[in-house]
């Protein structure tokens, strides 16, 4: 069979070159550069800015130093905080809420379903800076909407960003990201032939039984995909910085924010790069675990 091609290989290469150069300069080289930098004591200022020393695994040892590991503002604290953040806001918050919303919206009227989807998606498509301000206004002690509601209900107002910073960013991230899971599960549910659910209806199944026995097993692949994506997104998310600046006193300093502080506020590029590499390895591990599960489930199904 004759291979059809629009351009000669050489002409194709010429067209490819600009994009390849950009990707190379801004993605591939920095990727390896970060790994290299993580083995040095490079900083922004001082002698090591010009002439950094190769320090081997020194930066990594500092990160995992047992003496300071769990101290606030240190790597370990941020790591544990981030894991909690992922569990509560992504796995429980976004995925579970998204699943429940998607499931409930299967049986409501189309008008209500459209409204629900629009509302949830609005939270997802708004620019981050806008929603950062919106939440700031929502949570403000004196004039915030939440405290107004609390007061009108006769409940004591709270300075939420100071008192419950962690739960604020958990709820914030859940609110922000549930739309994605909802849409993904929604389309997954719609890919199931309606007669499956009708047969279950006639057979006497309740909504919960239909979800457990029919819908969930059939959208297992979508669930795995959703969990991979939202775990990684949440693990790397930086938006809570807009609300809390990582504080108060590092209580909401997620790994991404920690990296930012070390590298661009303390200007310790070497250590910042080391954190970046560790985050990348953790993400890689997540991806591999989830892919393994997906593969196993698929093998079981066949």
């Amino acid at each position: 069979m004759k291979k059809f091609s629009l351009l000669s290989t050489r002409a194709g290469a010429v067209f490819l070159a600009p994009a390849a150069a950009l990707v190379g300069v801004f993605v591939i080289i920095p990727f390896f550069w970060v790994i290299v930098v993580s083995f040095t004591n490079r900083t922004l200022l001082g002698r090591t800015a010009v002439d950094p020393d190769f320090v081997g695994l020194q930066n990594y040892f500092t990160l995992f130093n047992p003496a300071t590991f769990f101290t606030r503002g240190q790597f370990g604290f941020s790591l544990i905080l981030t894991v909690q953040f992922v569990i509560f806001s992504a796995l429980i918050g976004q995925a579970l809420l998204g699943l429940i919303l998607a499931w409930l919206s299967q049986s409501v009227s189309p008008t209500l379903k459209n409204f629900l989807q629009t509302a949830v998606i609005a939270a997802w498509i708004l620019p981050e800076v806008v929603i950062g301000f919106a939440w700031f206004a929502f949570l403000d002690y004196d004039n915030g909407t939440l405290n107004m509601i609390m007061r009108s209900l006769g409940l004591p107002p709270g300075d939420w960003l100071l008192q419950q910073p962690f739960w604020v960013i958990v709820i914030f991230n859940t609110w922000r990201g549930a739309a994605f899971s909802m849409m993904l599960f929604n389309s997954a549910f719609q890919s199931i032939p309606p007669s499956y659910f009708q047969a279950a209806d006639v057979a006497g199944a309740s909504s919960w039984q239909k979800l457990r026995d029919i819908a969930l097993p059939l959208i297992r692949g979508h669930v795995v995909t959703d969990l991979i994506l939202i775990t990684m997104w949440t693990f790397n998310v930086f938006t809570p910085f807009l609300l809390t600046n990582g504080g108060p006193s590092y209580r909401t300093e997620l790994l991404s924010i920690y990296t930012y502080r070390v590298a661009f506020k303390d200007f310790e590029f070497g250590r910042g790069a080391a954190v970046g590499v560790v985050i990348m390895l953790i993400n890689l591990a997540f991806a591999l675990i989830y892919l393994q599960i997906a593969k196993k489930k698929k093998a079981e199904a066949e």
Binding site: P193, Y196, Q198, A199, D201, V202, A203, G204, A205, D213
Partner: protein, 366 residues
């Protein structure tokens, strides 16, 4: 088992009226087929019995109880779907036993019951297979088994055989007929295949444009179709319909059309009244036509269109001057020799007359 009743049920989807207003009642133990072309409202009606659609007006009763707004799961019904709706991730045992699972039966008990039903349907040795690993006919029986595994008031079938090939369909049809005789179940069966309806039903409701045109036992539908629509829908090949000019001549009815003369038909008041309008439709079943012999008076003539040998019978089709076709079904062992023109003879005892609106004119003494 229970009766089913529709009282002035209607159903609209937006601006589209699927079912304008139908009423009927199905007695306990009846096997009723809803027969009609696609879009006639038969599936919508079935789904309203199941509770998968809510009527826009009227009442649905099962066993005398108003179930119009009851959820399907609370109606004690079974349903077999056109696409079988088997769960691809469950093996046959789990698929068949699913209705028992949602009723909270223990696993060993429900699997034992599933096996029992599956054995009757000759799929008992496939219980560990997934639906994708069995044939279409076996899938059909699996979905039937799932409907039969628990006690139901009414069994609903939505074109359950339409995805099977011709041979399997005949086999499954025979089996359903046997099952009905065995169980005496109340069943409502939707189909567009008149042969299925004829073979299975104790009564057929022929539907057209959301209305029931005729609701009668199969033989009645076949012999006395209420309208030209029913006549044309039932029978394979269907009844021949020829528009004719009618006149009364010496106390007898005379019908005429291109190439057709039919005289000596007895007259009744009804027939005379219809004949007075001048136009009628003559209906004759293909098996009530034969090759004309010399001296036959009541004949129809046309150009030969097709001559199909079916084994025990031959189908001889002619095309008349106005383009209308007439088919005769001739039972003979001999090959039928025809030339360009065919003349067929009527058996005047077996003609059906329709008035100018397409409604059947009652026979004499009916």
């Amino acid at each position: 088992m229970a009766s089913v009743e529709f009282q002035n049920v209607s159903k609209t989807f937006g601006s589209f009226t699927a079912v304008p207003d139908i009423s009927f009642s199905i007695a306990d133990g009846e096997f009723v087929c809803l027969l009609g072309p696609s879009g006639c409202g038969k599936t919508t009606s079935l789904r309203m019995i199941a509770g998968l659609e809510t009527p826009s007006g009227g009442k649905v009763l099962i066993g005398g109880k108003d179930v119009t707004y009851l959820h399907p799961k609370d109606r004690q019904i079974s349903m077999v779907f056109q696409d079988y709706a088997l769960y691809p991730h469950m093996n046959l045992a789990d698929n068949i036993a699913y209705p028992l699972k949602v009723r909270g039966e223990a696993e060993d008990k429900r699997h034992a019951r599933a096996k029992e039903v599956a054995d009757v349907l000759k799929i008992g040795d496939l219980m560990k297979r997934l639906p994708s690993q069995i044939s279409g006919g076996q899938q059909q029986r699996t979905s039937l088994a799932r409907a039969l595994v628990y006690p139901s008031q009414v069994y609903l079938f939505d074109e359950p055989l339409s995805n099977l090939d011709a041979k399997l369909r005949l086999e499954a049809r025979g089996f359903l007929n046997h099952l009905q005789r065995d169980m005496g179940m109340t069943a409502v069966y939707v189909t567009h295949d008149q042969a299925e309806a004829m073979a299975l039903a104790t009564r057929i409701a022929v539907m057209d444009k959301g209305r029931i045109v005729q609701f009668a036992p199969p033989i009645e539908i076949y012999r006395r179709p209420a309208t030209t629509f029913v006549a044309n829908f039932v029978g394979n090949p269907p009844m021949n319909l020829v528009p004719v000019e009618a006149m009364v001549d010496g106390g007898q009815l005379r019908l005429r059309a291109d190439g057709l003369t039919l005289t000596g038909l007895p007259l009744s008041d009804d027939i005379a009244k219809a004949a007075a309008k001048g136009k009628m439709t003559l209906g004759v079943r293909p098996e009530h036509l034969r090759m004309a012999e010399a001296g036959d008076a009541n004949t129809i003539t046309g150009k030969l269109f097709a001559n199909e040998n079916m084994g025990p019978e031959s189908l001889v089709t002619m095309e008349r001057a106005d383009g209308g076709r007439v088919t005769a079904r001739i039972f003979t062992d001999d090959e039928i020799r025809t030339d360009d023109h065919v003349t067929l003879a009527f058996d005047t005892r077996h003609v059906t007359l329709f008035d100018d609106t397409g409604a059947r004119i009652p026979e004499i003494g009916e």
